[in-house]
Symmetry: C2
Subunit: 496 residues, 2 copies
């Protein structure tokens, strides 16, 4: 069937909206990676102007009318989905009054500085009043966007994981806790203690090895680049997907595994076809699915015995003095389990326990069941409950993450969802393409990428996230594959 | 006096226009310096969307009404000038129909590829039809914007040199020809032949030396950065002014003097105060004045005996095998006069003759007195007339410059104006601050920058370009100082 002319006009408009968001992404990348310090004031103004322009275009009533008409017209499947997705975003934007949107933008921009200072001073009370304002505004925003009997938290969650219901997500994530806690305990009781790396690792050699890893994972340099930033991230889509990493002379694994993680994100975005890169369907479907791609490459592949065997050879030639001789030494080191305070440094066993803590605290904050005044004490109490150690200072506790200062409530659970999806996808992939260890150990990862390309990347936002996962794995979303994977892997490693 | 509230609203609006143009500049920088190859398609879309948004805001009738009201209100001097400049730009933009503006944008974007291909094939006829279209459209545009009995060419010229009249500019530039030609002849007849550099110059050492030069010229790294690009350029303003250079192992002077040239541009922009960086007055006043800053640092300072004595020491330690021992060897090399085909490689004696050729040809093209079909033959005939050598191929002749393919008619003369202004400014500066050679020879250039800061940079667009120069030098614009400077310098160098 051929779509009406109004559809083509809509696509042109959607294209311009996408272009504006890509410009904002590029300016943010520039700010983190390239911009000289004194450029900050002008950049803030540029971002504000761009956001206002984008918001005006996104909420234009004429665009809304066009979408309302198109949604009832006969369209082919792809066109229908494009219109639905565009209408979802338009409705989301129009439901929030301009006054509220701009207040949230202003406070979260300011809050970043307040939070960074409070963290550096280990003083939660300096950040608390700002956080209180943010939460009040986010509750107000949630009231604008929630539908039917949806909770405020669920409404915010859906910005990151569209369609995910809280009565599905909560038992799914809470269900991780008993078996993760048991695994944690068992490992703590194990006599086995893998060593860690020590020494000084040339940063240029780290970068060279990071690039070799990017090569072996089929990162497309023609459509990307690798730079340095304080916190590694990936950004952009389709033909221009950039990643960053960081360098610590004492810890080359931070650089290498950050690179693998960001490459996982980047491969997803590079897998969006250029023909669809300007359509609403040509977009990652959710943060959970995005994270599944980074975590699959970082953990299921990157921390596998097979990949470590490939990496060990290259690591040993990059760092001849590292003394890594035993072929499984690196495998043991990158899978070392240790209780720590910091989420971003956590091993696979502890990581989701960090998420669960934030998930329950932010649900209570948004529900109004927990006061910001009690947040630090509650964080510390529950952290000790879950991890068995006492938080010594706010920078290692409640102030460690940037998310809340940026107004990102409902974002944390998508990290755990990503881990869950990744394990399901891995099982399904092996079921289809057979064992991959020999290939991976020899630096051949193309079959894995091809499977992800056709099952996830090229699908863009054609389906809802849960439907997409189910279409790949032939079963509903479940934490069983993740828990089984972790128990088997670490039982062997720690001789449990 | 206090300005009306409408003025503050106007300033906010002007600020958003400036922010949009800065975003476009940053995206262009990224495209030349950072963007991966496959990013081109999306970037073209982003630039087009941004240009459309900026054009819409610039030509908004409500903004025009606001400007018309403000222009008749009592305002302080700075405010009055801000409104005048904003109205000039608004009027310029509204006079050109959107259809024509978009046709020019489309053809010039496309023409870049056609021109680059034609140049690489040395085939002017492949570019001629496109150039013909561009000229027709620029003539049409000139008809929209010219005032009273202004010629089309003068109208286009004023985009780059506001207020400059053709009956002033033409005799000024044509007046250069006889004495430059005589100087050229005299040098050609001189027995003196300075050597040139030969060898292989480590590119990393070139970059290190380029950074040392930036340091010594007081380039503010806190508000800038230095990268590589195919063609050196500078971009940005106030707190974020970036420069690029390029590396040729056989010719380190290309890197070093390109860097000095771009630093000259950058110092001007870094000298715009951050308080005014979002106001219409907080903007470089003309391309001629901009070029005066780059040329003053590149030639009057950078090619002086004093600076060459500083540079020779640093050059010798960066390139110990270069064999540069005699303290005046570098001075002679960087001032070597040689007839060549390429404008951007020309010495100070030949440079303005290259400009004069383009100035007369483009005037005739826009006036309709010269057909594109005859352009290559006319270029070659007049080049041989002026330079005494025959153009061997189009890439060394009529196809060498990008300007016409970009629709930049009226731009070339600003290069010569820059040289003229620079010589006048240098004389005035020395008259005020006294001899500077000892300072320069010891790497102390701050007094020169300070003089330029208070006389040019901090003035922004407060005055028209010619009034600005006259206010600094106490005399009207004149080519005498430039010609005197060249004749004295090269008579001594070539023992004429």
């Amino acid at each position: 069937m051929s779509n009406p002319k109004a559809y083509d006009e809509f696509l042109e408009y959607a294209k311009s909206l996408r272009a504006l968001s890509e410009i904002a992404a590029n300016l943010s990348w520039d700010q983190e990676v390239m911009m000289p310090p004194a450029g900050g004031t002008a950049r803030a103004e540029q971002m504000a102007v761009l956001a206002a322009v984008a918001h005006e275009k996104q909420t234009d009533p004429a665009y809304g009318d066009q979408l309302s008409e198109l949604i009832d017209m006969p369209l082919d499947l792809l066109a229908k989905r494009n219109v639905e997705l565009a209408k979802r975003d338009h409705d989301r934007a129009t439901k929030v009054p301009a006054r509220l949107a701009s207040e949230i933008a202003r406070i979260t921009s300011h809050a970043n500085t307040v939070w960074a200072q409070a963290r550096s001073d280990d003083d939660f009370s300096a950040f608390a009043p700002t956080l209180e304002t943010i939460i009040a505004l986010k509750r107000e925003e949630a009231d604008c966007i929630r539908v039917d009997d949806q909770s405020r938290y669920a409404a915010l969650l859906n910005d990151f994981e569209p369609g995910m219901r809280l009565d599905v997500l909560q038992p799914l994530l809470e269900g991780l806790r008993p078996r993760l806690a048991a695994l944690r305990e068992a490992i703590a009781g194990s006599a086995h203690r893998p060593s860690s790396l020590s020494g000084d690792f040339d940063t240029q050699a780290q970068m060279t090895l990071a690039r070799e890893i990017a090569d072996v994972l089929n990162y497309d340099w023609n459509a990307g680049r690798l730079d340095l930033s304080v916190h590694p991230f990936s950004t952009g889509m389709s033909g221009d997907v950039r990643i960053t990493t960081r360098l610590d002379p004492a810890n080359p694994l931070d650089c290498l595994y950050s690179t693998i993680h960001e490459i996982g994100h980047a491969l997803y975005e590079q897998g969006i076809s250029s023909q669809e890169a300007f359509m609403p369907v040509g977009h990652h479907v959710s943060m959970g699915v995005h994270e599944s791609q980074s975590r699959l490459w970082e953990n299921q592949i990157g921390r596998s015995q097979a990949f470590c065997s490939w990496l060990q050879t290259h690591f040993a030639s990059a760092f001849p003095d590292s003394g890594l001789k035993d072929p499984t030494a690196l495998y043991r080191i990158v899978n070392r389990v240790e209780t720590g305070f910091i989420r971003t440094e956590a091993d696979e066993v502890h990581y989701n326990l960090h998420i669960l803590l934030r998930f329950e605290l932010e649900r209570e904050l948004i529900a109004g069941e927990l006061d910001v005044g009690d947040l630090e004490a509650e964080w510390n109490r529950r952290f000790e409950r879950d991890f068995g150690i006492a938080v010594p200072k706010a920078s290692q506790g409640v102030l460690q993450d940037i998310h809340w200062s940026a107004g990102l409530f409902g974002y944390f659970p998508t990290y755990a969802l990503g881990n869950i999806y990744a394990a399901q996808l891995m099982d399904a992939m092996i079921g289809e393409i057979g064992p991959i260890d020999d290939d991976i150990a020899n630096g051949r990862t193309k079959a894995v990428l091809d499977w992800l390309r056709s099952n996830i990347h090229e699908k863009g936002s054609r389906m809802a996230p849960d439907a997409l996962i189910e279409s790949c794995v032939g079963a509903p979303v479940s934490s069983e594959p993740l828990l089984n994977y972790l128990e088997q892997k670490f039982a062997a490693l720690y001789e449990l």
